[in-house]
Amino acid sequence: VVSEAKDVEPRFLAHLFLGRVLEDAGRLDDATTHYRRALEIDPRSQSAGMALAHALRLAGEDTGARSVVQKAVSFAGQRGGRDWFWTYLTQSVSPDDLLTELRRQVDP
């Protein structure tokens, strides 16, 4: 469902959330894969950058984490205040709503 969704915003959020679930489960390689996919969708997302950096530190990749944070911070002022995770928080979209939107895009 996540990979087939057409709109990038719910796809971004889905990868971010899946990354967090996998991180909490200790599956750090899988978590970083999903965080990186979120960053591929929005390379300037600070939220995805912080999430990826945190998982990298848990995996012992401090240098990689620092590099990701440096890059995320370097985009300050260039996002126009946009990060889909921030939008998600302000709109109070429930996980069920997000999943419904993903399914709608895959099978309208």
Binding site: V1, V2, A14, L16, F17, L18, R20, V21, L22, D24, A25, G26, R27, L28, Q46, S47, A48, M50, A51, A53, H54, R57, L58, A59, G60, D62, A65, R66, V69, Q70, A72, V73, A76, G77, R79, G81, D83, F85, W86, L89, S94, P95, D96, L98, L99, L102
Partner: protein, 324 residues
Amino acid sequence: MTARVAIAFLVALAGTPALPQVKTPVFQASVEAVYVDVFVNRDGEAVPGLTAANFELQDNDVRQSVEVVATELRPLRSLLVFDTSGSVVGERLQALRAAGDAFLQGLAPTVEAGLIGFSEEIAWLAPVSADKTGARQALARFQPLGTTAVYDALFATIALSEDAGRSVIVLFTDGEDNMSVLDAKQVMTATLRSNALVHAVGWVDAAPPPPPSATGAQSRVPPTLSSGGGPPPEPQHLFSLRKIAEATGGRFWTADSPERLRKAFAEIADAMGHRYVLRYEPQGVGREGWHRIEVKLKRQKGEVQARRGYWVAPPRGTAGPTEP
């Protein structure tokens, strides 16, 4: 992002969550020698003149032989991390600028300092430099705007701080986090496994006086529920920042006035100037995993503050010890 939201999403997506295969996280660290910053206070004043003979340090309950190292040999870089969200305005903003400027002016010329600002977005307002001019100028001109991502900001600062030596992170915020992708628990873990010393200052609006009774009669609210029945419990977000700061050996201050804010920053600067640096090479303990540190005073009275431990990563790809 709360884990609850993310897990709810996964449950919705998959119907049944996959059983996780837990792999112990690993971390990089070096422990040929361990350095511990220690602050000793008695009646609110720093206690000077202590020697190694005045300290007893245990690493995972094993007493260690320590030496006191000159603080000049273990300089701490200062990173100011200031809330620049839209609520930091007026008197509060002026007070923050004044307190931060005084802090920067009080640093020794050789000590490097930098300034990071955060709302929902995190930005270097002034890069780390021994010349504090840039940081002072940035402090004077930043414009408050936006919401608050204090946990992301603290995590970013910790990650950025570890490229060279140790740092003291001085965090200021006036509000509850509402935009971070990371939560307090994640940042606590990152902090415990870092070398950073965190001091945090939280601006808390002074409690309003009890509403006057329209009839002039005494309030019927039971004393335990009224403002006169004791201090209100600490809000969760302040409690979390306090725990994070104290775990690193730092402290948490609350300020509800410009004077208290100035005093908090002055006390942080003063503490940094009166710290002891203990050095030891761990003996009789395993190398990897979480090392709980306990520092006590001998033949002296006083309150001791020090980091509560440090983390040594197992080799990559091995099943390591549990996290702190």
